[in-house]
């Protein structure tokens, strides 16, 4: 039995899957299996995955499309490891990532989910200079709701037992349990992490370092803002009954952070028409982000305002300056 399983949900990822798998095979911690779940891809994803089958650690599963949550659930169902990690088929893991999380989970028995920060990479796998460096310790449900420190779907390695504690089987499902909610096509990550916090006493804790390479697709940045918001609100409606007092206390700020996040994405995509209204909605929901993270909030507000009044040029200049800061 391998110590760890890494689940790679893959949907139409023929161009990136090989790089993802190579980064996993190159891990310094070697006692693991990789489960590639081909989620009804229409391209040659399955062929790429099958080409890796010569390595006995790689298992390839195929299913009709069920979405990211459904692909992960199938992977978890088949995983044999004590620890289960997730790496989307367009992201990469740094060589010491798995070792770091295995050590963390081995030494911290109350931690159910171990995560790390992420460095953003572009389509050519070059670091963009930007990164997610979230809070790592003393994480409460409020942090998960407002700031989602786990950050993205390729950052987490979970304890099998913690996954078992959030499993359920909907009446419509006959084959296997759900861990991620397959009715969500967006916000499925945070729904799962927040449910872990609201229904179990497993802790979420991070380890230092930018151990995930998270690929940012510039075209996807500002797309479907309203759909993302709708999914986020659905997630709130689903989880609110677990602890209404908690949501009453923190929902305003959480919504403001969520809107600010979408505004930042719109700014990154130089989409001034969207960024400014999002900022206004964020401020109307709560000004707490401005006080809790004045710098980040200020920059976002300023960028959205400049983008609206002067267009993308000055913002692009500023972004280049920031990205070329030494130390990245």
């Amino acid at each position: 039995m391998p110590k760890a399983s890494v689940i790679v949900p893959a949907f139409n990822s023929e161009t990136t899957l090989a790089e993802t798998l190579l980064s996993l095979l190159a891990q310094s911690f070697q006692d693991f299996e990789i489960l590639v779940v081909n989620d009804g891809s229409a391209d040659s994803t399955l062929e790429v995955a099958n080409a890796f089958r010569t390595d006995p650690r790689i298992r390839v599963l195929s299913q009709a499309n069920r979405g990211l949550a459904g692909a992960r659930n199938t992977g978890i169902d088949q995983a044999r490891g004590e620890y289960v990690g997730f790496c989307d088929a367009d992201d990469v893991w740094m060589p010491d990532k798995l070792m770091t999380h295995v050590n963390h989970l081995d030494s911290a028995p109350d931690v159910g989910l171990s995560f790390s920060g992420s460095a953003f990479i572009d389509a050519q796998s070059r670091p963009t200079g930007l990164a997610q460096k979230p809070r790592l310790r003393n994480i409460t449900a409020r942090h998960v709701l407002c700031r989602n420190p786990v950050g993205n779907g390729s950052a987490a390695v979970m304890r099998r037992q913690a996954l078992a504690d959030i499993a359920w089987r909907p009446a419509t499902e006959s084959r296997r349990d759900w861990y991620f909610d397959e009715t969500f096509r967006q916000s499925e990550d945070i729904e799962c992490w927040l449910r872990l916090m609201l229904t179990t006493d497993w802790e979420i804790e991070g380890v230092p370092g930018l151990l995930t390479g998270y690929r940012v697709n510039p075209e996807g940045l500002s797309s479907a803002t309203e759909r993302q918001l709708a999914a986020w609100e659905l997630m709130i409606a689903k989880l609110r009954p677990f602890n209404p007092a908690f949501f009453d206390a923190h929902l305003g700020a959480a919504r403001a952070y969520q809107l600010r996040y979408l505004a930042r994405r719109a700014v990154s995509a130089m989409d001034g028409d969207n960024a400014w209204p999002l900022i206004r909605r964020a401020l109307a929901s709560s000004t707490r982000p401005v006080f809790e993270e004045p710098l980040k909030s200020g920059v976002t507000i300023a960028a959205a305002a400049v983008l609206r009044v002067l267009g993308p040029k000055p913002v692009r200049c500023a972004a280049r300056l920031i990205a070329s800061r030494p130390g990245y």
């Binding site: 028995p109 109350d110 409460t140 037992q161 504690d165 359920w168 089987r169 909907p170 009446a171 916090m197 609201l198 229904t199 179990t200 006493d201 802790e203 409606a237 689903k238 989880l239 009954p241 677990f242 602890n243 209404p244 007092a245 908690f246």
Partner: protein
Amino acid sequence: MKSIRIVHLIDDSTPGGIMRMLDHLLTLPELSAQVHQTVRTVRRGSWSADHIGADVIVSHLALSWRGLPALVTLRALNPLARIIHIEHSYTPASAALNVNRKKRFHTMLRVAYSLFDDVVAVSHTQAAWMRTRALVRNDALTVIHPQVDMSALTGIPAPRPGGRTIGAFGRLEPQKGFDTLIEAFRLCPDTRARLVIFGDGQEQDRLQMLAGADHRITFKGHTDDLTAAYAQVDIVAMPSRWEAFGLVAQEARASGRSVLVSAVDGLRDQITPGISAVSQRTPEAWARVLEKRLDEVGQTEIPASVRAGTSAEEYAAQWLALLSPRSGEKAVTPPGAVSAAA
């Protein structure tokens, strides 16, 4: 022959699950023949333990950092007594929802549990949590589902077809999830349906506000006459957010009422014929299930054997098994006795 002297320690003597369980336990004839039981009430978190002079001390206390010194003293001053703790308070869901500093909380439990010879979980779900979180030594852990005297309830006639009254029993506190139930009920358009809530508590005003002008919803307050109360309802709903065990589900089933529960903590143990789980927590999900169940009232009767549940004899036997000296356990000679003999 009364060979074993047991002292039960409680820090909450308000009429509730623990008191009713003790009333039942103290009157079980199978137990009375072999053990002599008394109850001692202490102040929660601030009591000083002394030498109790019992063979077995059973703690029904709510554990806390503040109460830890008293437990240490209890252990030190009663070195020969077997000290058993029954965990009535903490569950995985209660910890998730009520504990902010989880590391500190787990450490408290590990330290406190280590002072006991045995820890009794009140559900298998709770025991599994204690085991996977390494809160208790495996060999010190036992599961006994609590029981109360339900003989009066098993005689209640089964609900009649066409009955459309949902009952909710328990303190009006966030724990019980009655807010979800009221919201769900208000989504059911059926004008003949009724929701009757038995219990008092701090959430009364808020729940009444949620009920609004819906005249189908009635608050009856606390009742001691459970037989009459269960006879008034056709279905019992328990959308609890956490529940160490959830005796209401047992009572409702004994009354021949089908029960809907949230799949949480001790309620998970009870998902058996007559007691079914609603897997989602939203009012919409509960409304769908309630509507379906209201249409099914009286269609199938819960058999008498199911209503009877675990027998009192079986319950007594579980306690006697817990109290019997464990195999491999050596008889301990009191150190005082040795020096006196010398």
